[in-house]
Amino acid sequence: MTIAAEVMPIDEALAQYDPVMGLEVHVELNTKSKMFCGCPTEFGAEPNTQTCPVCLGLPGALPVVNARAVESAIKIGLALNCEIAEWCRFARKNYFYPDMPKNFQTSQYDEPIAFNGWTEVVVDGETYRIEIERAHMEEDTGKSTHIGGATGRIHGASHSLVDYNRAGIPLIEIVTKTIEVPGEKAAAVARAYVSMLRDLLLALDVSDVRMDQGSLRCDANVSLKPRGATAFGTRTETKNVNSFRSVERAVTYEITRQAAVLATGGKVIQETRHWHEDTGITTSGREKSDAEDYRYFPEPDLVPVAPSREWVEELRATLPEPPSVRRARLQGEWGFTDLEMRDVVNGGAVELIESTVELGVTPAAAKKWWLGELARAANESGVGLEELHVGAAEVAEVQKLVDAGTLNDKIARQVFEGLLAGEGTPAEIIEKRGLALVSDDSALLEAIDRAIAANPDVVEKVNSGKPAAAGALIGAVMKDMRGQADAAKVRQLLNEKLGI
């Protein structure tokens, strides 16, 4: 039931209320096999082809914990500065749903593998600390498709199809403690947090983090309290938000919606809400009270998980540099300004520039190509930079030719054009398109002679003590050479000729 269909403008809402958030992020791990059996985890397989007695919950079948998933969970916990439990257990979360084979979900409840952590996000140059409550392991459920209804939901459907391929896929749920940041930053911090998690998980190589495939999903808990109040308000939980932008929009929407409800004397109902990407609103889902009874109890089919301290320390030693720390380091090494670095990060070019620099290119040159020519091309074809037919190796090769005087920037752009069109290697393109700079002195001298002959007035000016006028002669030579000459070389030869 929706009490108020209207929303309050965000500025007004934030003037009256402080938002309080809690974020729960579900991450699908990229293990080869499922959480409790050996079935493959490939995305998009034919329905019900990746199942066995265990993940179908057939009578008698028993789960066995995937050690690789435990390893990933520990890595995530460590990367979020969590304590790693010396001894933890799985629990059964009992509820009924047709796509849940056992009618309980094997999850962790009061004994998670990782707990009490923290992380930081940066929004507009400000650093915000996010406290992490826990990161726990669980299994995914199957997927229901409801056929025949207008909405795709179960109501009104004539029948439902269930695909159990996803049942038993390992998930990690990362739960924050209450996040209280200045209201106007709340939504942006939520977005930055999820985005930071994505980078972190990619760096850890524990998940593909394909938000479009649901391998990272965010549930956003939002409540409001009147400015200056200490008691928390009633919260709603917006489920399964699956893009960074949507996280920001959904939080903003809930703030404006709840503010309107409260301002008109209504009460916010504790419930789950659905996010609608197209309209940018949330709608009421299932009402959820605190007393919802999952009848949790320790999973008797599994022995406790007790990661040895040695193993935990081994894993700690393998952790990559956290993305935020790495960025700060690279910015220092590259000598980029905050603004430049932000462009690089937002452009998704950190790794590409890093690899290019590693191949001997200056950071400035690497940035110039990746954020210029190549970003433009990626943007035009609607793909990511990393999906272009150009990699760090090609950029480095082209830039080295520029440094050697074989190409100038203008011609280099034509080489990239060829690369993007898949015309071959830089050398092949230069060859095919005849793009190399003319470095033959005699050819250049001939062109200089032609320029001098054609521009006696300019020569006159130079001779009368205005050496700057020689620029026009360089331009004429370059034009004569169709741009394929090294301008510095031309200047040097021209100066010699004119005795400047």
Partner: protein
């Protein structure tokens, strides 16, 4: 050669090794016996004639080809219907699974097949192993071959009845609170509950995961040990299975020397409520063991008095969750699927029709015991009792090697006698339950007939975790001492069954 059914498993193995009988002959003899007497006993829910004969033939062929065979290769066996067998109907005694043919073998079944043991069919049991009489089976009651008006015990009544009716020399049972040992006691046979985790639960349709243990049923200690060895050992498919050597059970069964063994009589398991004839046979057996050189002392396990209530909170709690999967969505019975009913409605109609009264009772109990607000008072408290019971055992085992008691307070009761009184029924497992809660090894061995009713009495032995061999040591000593008195194993005293075919 109808007397093939009177042979023990080890004798049958001997006959096959020496070429005096083939597995096909032996299997056929037992199939004939089933056809002749099972109309009265009703031990089997499903007889797999074709499958059994094919398995027997395969063993005979291997033997003829000189291939190495395991000790029990070619011996027939009756399988409790709670273990999955690929392609063979498996119901756990419930209507809700009527007609379900599992697509996979339980680990125990796989090991039986690997050992060349011939599976004759599936035996009757209380629905989902809930019960102490096999009266809760959705497919009718099994009768005790010693007295057909009596129950054979439960939940594995079918398995124990099958071996005591000479329909099979061996059977597999599962023991959650005594379901192997109590029917063993009631039918004058040997029933062993191995150490929890010593035998795999993979493919065992769960009643209570933390208690369920598959184990052997046989007419002699040695047969039970041979079967124990065939099915036991670590299984990577079962997380709770113990990765350790199988205790030397066969060696212990062959060499039942109890001289110097310290035996503790549990003070709390006797006295009021115990049938005099049961107590008398039990004490005589203890005397016999003393004469054989065992040291007998009385020990106290003060928390055993709380075992029954703790068990009846833990078991239903786990069962309520384990049975949630029977929802009419993927297999088994489906009621009300007429396109009008919602998934929830179909689920509830199916459960209404598919689950029996005892199953519903325990699901309700367990759901309540686990619910928030009651969890600490019930499930949490029961788990604490469980810890105290384990501590009682640990302290007792500091003084003695094994503990003993009667296996059951009474002998087999009459069909219908306690079916309407769940508490009276539950009390039958008083002696056997503590071992399930603590996860240690325990067994029941025949120790004579009660004077009042002439029915078998079980002698209960409990041993520490992974000391299953001690059970067999005591069982073998007792068996040979009593055989001298009786002129054979107790089973030879059983009345002849009328052949009904």
């Amino acid at each position: 050669m109808s007397d093939l059914t009177r042979k023990t498993a080890s004798e049958l193995a001997e006959l096959m090794t020496s070429g005096q009988a083939s597995s096909v002959e032996i299997t056929q003899a037992h199939l004939d016996r089933i056809a002749a007497v099972d109309g009265a006993v009703r031990a089997f829910l499903h007889v797999d004639t074709e499958g059994a004969l094919a398995q027997a033939k395969a063993v005979d062929d291997k033997r003829a080809a000189g291939e190495p065979l395991s000790p029990l290769a070619g011996v027939p066996l009756a399988l409790k219907d709670v273990l999955t067998q690929e392609g063979v109907p498996t119901t756990a005694g419930s209507k809700i699974l009527e007609g379900w043919k599992p697509p996979y073998d339980a680990t125990v079944v796989k090991r039986l097949k690997d050992a060349g043991i011939v599976i004759l069919g599936k035996t009757n049991m209380d629905e989902f192993a809930m019960g102490s009489s096999t009266e809760n089976s959705a497919y009718g009651t099994t009768h005790n071959p010693w007295d057909l008006s009596r129950i054979p015990g439960g939940s594995g009544g079918g398995s124990s009845a099958a071996i005591s009716a000479y329909e099979a020399p061996l059977a597999i049972g599962t023991d959650t609170g005594g379901s192997i040992r109590q029917p063993g006691a009631f039918t004058g046979t040997v029933g062993v509950k191995p150490t929890y985790g010593g035998t795999s639960r993979y493919g065992l349709i769960a009643l209570a995961s933390s208690l369920d243990t598959p184990g052997p049923c046989a007419r002699t200690t040695l047969d039970a040990a041979l079967l124990h060895e065939a099915i036991a050992g670590w299984d990577p498919m079962d997380s709770t299975s113990i990765n350790a050597e199988v205790p030397p059970v066969v060696e212990a069964a062959r060499n039942g020397d109890v001289a110097g063994l310290r035996i503790g009589v549990v003070k709390e398991l006797g006295g009021e409520g115990y049938q005099p004839g049961v107590e008398a046979r039990f004490h005589e057996a203890v005397e016999l063991l003393t004469k054989l050189g065992a040291e007998v002392v009385e020990v106290s396990c003060p928390h055993f008095q709380y075992a029954l209530p703790a068990y009846y909170l833990i078991l239903p709690s786990e069962a309520s969750s384990n049975l949630a999967k029977f929802d009419a969505m993927r297999y088994g019975l489906r009621v009300g699927d007429d396109g009008e009913n919602s998934a929830e409605k179909v689920m509830s109609l199916t459960r209404e029709a598919g689950f029996g009264a005892e199953v519903k009772r325990r699901i309700m109990l367990g759901t309540h015991a686990l619910s928030s607000g009651y969890y600490d008072a019930y499930y949490g408290q029961a788990q604490k009792v469980r810890t105290l019971i384990a501590r009682d055992f640990a302290q007792a085992y500091e003084q003695v090697d094994v503990l003993v008691s009667p296996a059951t307070p009474t002998t087999a009761f009459a069909i219908g006698d306690r079916i309407d009184d769940p508490i009276a029924m539950y009390k039958n497992d008083l002696c056997t339950i503590p071992s399930n809660l603590a996860g240690n090894a325990a067994a029941s061995f025949p120790c004579g007939l009660a004077d009042e009713d002439g029915l078998p009495v079980g002698f209960h032995v409990m041993a520490p975790v992974l000391r299953d061999d001690l059970l067999y040591k005591v069982g073998a000593a007792l068996e040979s001492a009593l055989a001298e008195q009786w002129g054979g194993v107790l089973m030879t005293k059983a009345p002849e069954l009328e052949v009904t075919r």
